[in-house]
């Protein structure tokens, strides 16, 4: 028996508008671009929902109805769900419909799609809790499997997830870690006893996510039948083929005219054409199989670029100084007790902000430029820096305001 396990990531950040040095201390509406640019979050969400989320959801729903064996899973950032609630209720409802079939699992992550695990553990846990509450409220389910932002993974994270009660955790099935071993099995994260790691089959996943429309690729044009044959080739040397990708693959990264929707529509049929092949959710995979070996990742492993590290987010000085400084503000921001301020600060932790500041213009650079709503990485840094300075001022102001109050309080008590 061979399973196909599909996990789709749904995320849109709150992009910082062109926030200038003159805005610092004057206005704190960092995320409210209302122009025609790709910094206009409402506009981008509605565009992506129309081009990708809604048509793809319609196909998935149709597939769930047609094939009782079909399964899928999603991970939503809290910030994308918040934007759907605000700007596009219809799309949110179409996701709910999928989950209501009982055959679509939702995974756990940080509410703010942040890299907080590596910078501020307590803050990370608060964001995971905040995310769980949102998923319970919107979908009525509690996630059992954890996936970290950008699939960033270490032994330590697996250890944390086990203690936090998760049954499984997702990671990149990267050759440098696996060696001769295949990502088509479950693995035991080093230093854990109960939790299992599901590893992305990056070759097959990227055939869809990155190469599907590439005319220079030998596999172009890719049919569902051909792809199913590649999956079926794993019969006998694996349990599960884990296809992990951004949901925006369907309709946004690969446009409709590439045939991506037709591919999706025919994929389950083609996969199921081979006997002994089925679909499973991540939780079903965990129940069906046992781990065959240890998965040891002492250094951060991600699903990005050829390096599979965090260099797209923290590779240059601008990125490192920005991310370190946003976390350095944590104590002052939290102490303010100002919920709007705390929420703005958290939205500035979303990993995309740092990605936009990436200056790697190598082979991966084109991908970065494509996804960058700013003219240059430096423009991204400038707007972000200015917004962060405003956050610092707000926290400082709250601090000086609360002092006299505290003093009065303490004074009152001692009287």
């Amino acid at each position: 028996m061979l399973s196909v396990c599909i996990y789709l990531q749904v995320h849109q950040p709150y992009r910082v508008r062109k926030y200038r040095v003159f805005d610092i201390g004057e206005s704190s509406d960092y995320f409210s671009a209302d122009d025609e640019s790709n910094l206009n979050n409402k506009r981008v969400l509605q565009k992506v929902a129309g081009k990708a989320y809604r048509p793809a959801n319609a196909i998935l729903l149709e597939l769930l109805h047609r094939h009782p064996e079909f399964r899928a899973s999603f991970s939503f950032s809290g910030v994308v769900l918040e934007q759907m609630e605000q700007y596009d209720q219809e799309t949110l409802n179409s996701f709910r419909e999928l989950v209501e079939t009982g055959r679509v699992e939702i995974l756990s992550e940080t509410y703010h799609h942040s890299l907080a695990f590596f910078y501020d553990r307590a803050e990370f846990e608060r964001q995971v809790t905040q995310h769980r509450a949102l998923i319970e409220r919107l979908f009525g389910v509690t996630p059992k499997i954890f996936r970290n932002t950008e699939l960033a993974y270490t032994n330590e994270l697996a250890h944390w997830a086990e203690r936090a009660g998760y049954n499984g955790i997702l990671a990149e099935g990267w050759d440098h870690v696996l060696g001769w071993r295949s990502p088509t099995f479950l693995y035991q994260p080093k230093g854990t006893s109960r939790i299992k790691a599901l590893l992305k089959h990056y070759r097959l996943s990227d055939d869809i996510a990155f190469r599907f429309s590439n005319r220079d690729w030998h596999g172009w044009p890719l049919s569902a039948d051909t792809f199913a044959n590649w999956v079926h080739a794993h019969h006998g040397d694996g349990n599960t083929v884990n296809l992990f990708m951004d949901y925006e693959t369907f309709g946004e990264h690969q446009w409709e005219d590439t045939g991506i929707f037709e591919f999706l529509r025919h994929l389950p049929q083609a996969i199921l054409a081979h006997p002994e092949t089925g679909f499973k959710t991540p939780s079903e995979v965990l129940n069906a199989y046992t781990a065959i070996g240890e998965f040891d990742v002492p250094h951060i492993l991600t699903w990005a670029d050829t390096e599979r590290d965090l260099s797209a987010w923290t590779g240059n000085d601008m990125q490192r100084s920005a991310i370190e400084d946003v976390y350095a503000l944590g104590a002052a921001v939290l102490k303010s007790g100002d919920e709007d301020l705390i929420e703005d600060w958290r939205k500035l932790q979303t990993s995309d902000h740092f990605y936009y500041m990436c200056t790697k213009w190598s082979s991966d650079g084109d991908v970065h430029a494509y996804f960058n709503p700013y003219e240059t990485p430096y423009d991204a840094y400038i707007s972000y820096r200015n917004a962060l300075e405003d956050v610092r001022l707000r926290a400082e102001r709250a601090g000086t305001h609360s002092k006299p109050y505290m003093a009065r309080l303490v004074g009152g008590l001692s009287d």
Partner: protein
Amino acid sequence: MFGWEFPPHNSGGLGVACQGLVQALADENSEVIFVLPRKISVEDARAQFRFAEGVELKVCSIDTLLAPYLTAGDYRLKVASHDDLYAADIFGEVRRYARAASKIALEESFDIIHAHDWLSFCAGVAAKETSGKPLVLHMHLPAVDQALGGYADPRVFAVEKDAMQKADAIIAISNRMRDVLIEKYDVYPDKIHVVHNGVAPDETAHLSPLAIKRDPRTRVALYLGRLTGHKGPDIFLHAAKIVAARNPHARFIVAGSGEMLPRLIDQAVYYGIADRVFFTGFVRGDEKNRLYKTADVFVMPSIAEPFGLVALEAASAGTPVIVSKQSGASEVMRHALSVDFWDVEEMANKICSIFSHAPLRQAMAREAGKEVKISTWKKAAQKCLNIYNAYIKQPRHTTA
């Protein structure tokens, strides 16, 4: 090649470009006969180059009052103090220059003619008519750009348009300029080839910043270019006023000479920043390079700028760069910040940000420095050679 005088005798980027291109062509083993107005001695010009063995640069000179960027008005002032060897107006002088060029074309042996900017275009056309050799025109600053969207001198425009029609190929120094030539001059698009300018390797490592940088809190923004309308030095001062109000450690350098200087000084006084703006006059060589070393940011606020070589020079010297979106340089510099020339607040925002954040300065300096290293004159010369080869109809020795 009909060109213009080199550093240290130049009055702007045109001379730098001629020097860079001629040197790189010589390095590619091309023989160049370089014709320039007599102002500097032939030996002096030759001394500017290093030559590989066997490679020849022949310099010819023509006695004329023509100089780069000269306007009809400038010429009238200039000719007044000379005897009647020279023509009474600039157009007469351009024709006189062309007659002399045609004589040189008869005497010399060559395969292709290459002329830089309108003052030498007539010479190029005359040489073509005399010799029958193909003509390549190299456009650095068309009259419509110099006129800043106002009325271009119709006589200059006519000379440019006529020459471009007669030429076999035209080199534009940016895509932006290519569009201008197609739109405003009706040039057939296939005739135009874009060759971006190059930049000489950085030779500033041994230089130290100016004394105004001794206080480590001081931040310096630099403008360097002719003080003339289309370069936007007044826009730079306007942004400076906004930056100065926010950053007490901000200083500004305005380097270059030009007719706007008195107005700019008044402007600085009027803004109340006279004590923070330094005017240097025309600079070249190590003086110029020390300014790049001193600056925390180089700003090129041009309203119209076919290319803007100084932006590449600054990046090459390791200075973060802000260029106007209306410049050709913005086409080749992905690691510069760009801004619309009219958006003075945004320009100030970017200057303030670069002043405040060391990681931004460092990342921009490093990445742009890497980027301009590949913008070499060698690359420009190779493109020119490809263009020459496409238009040279027969190999040289079989023509006789």
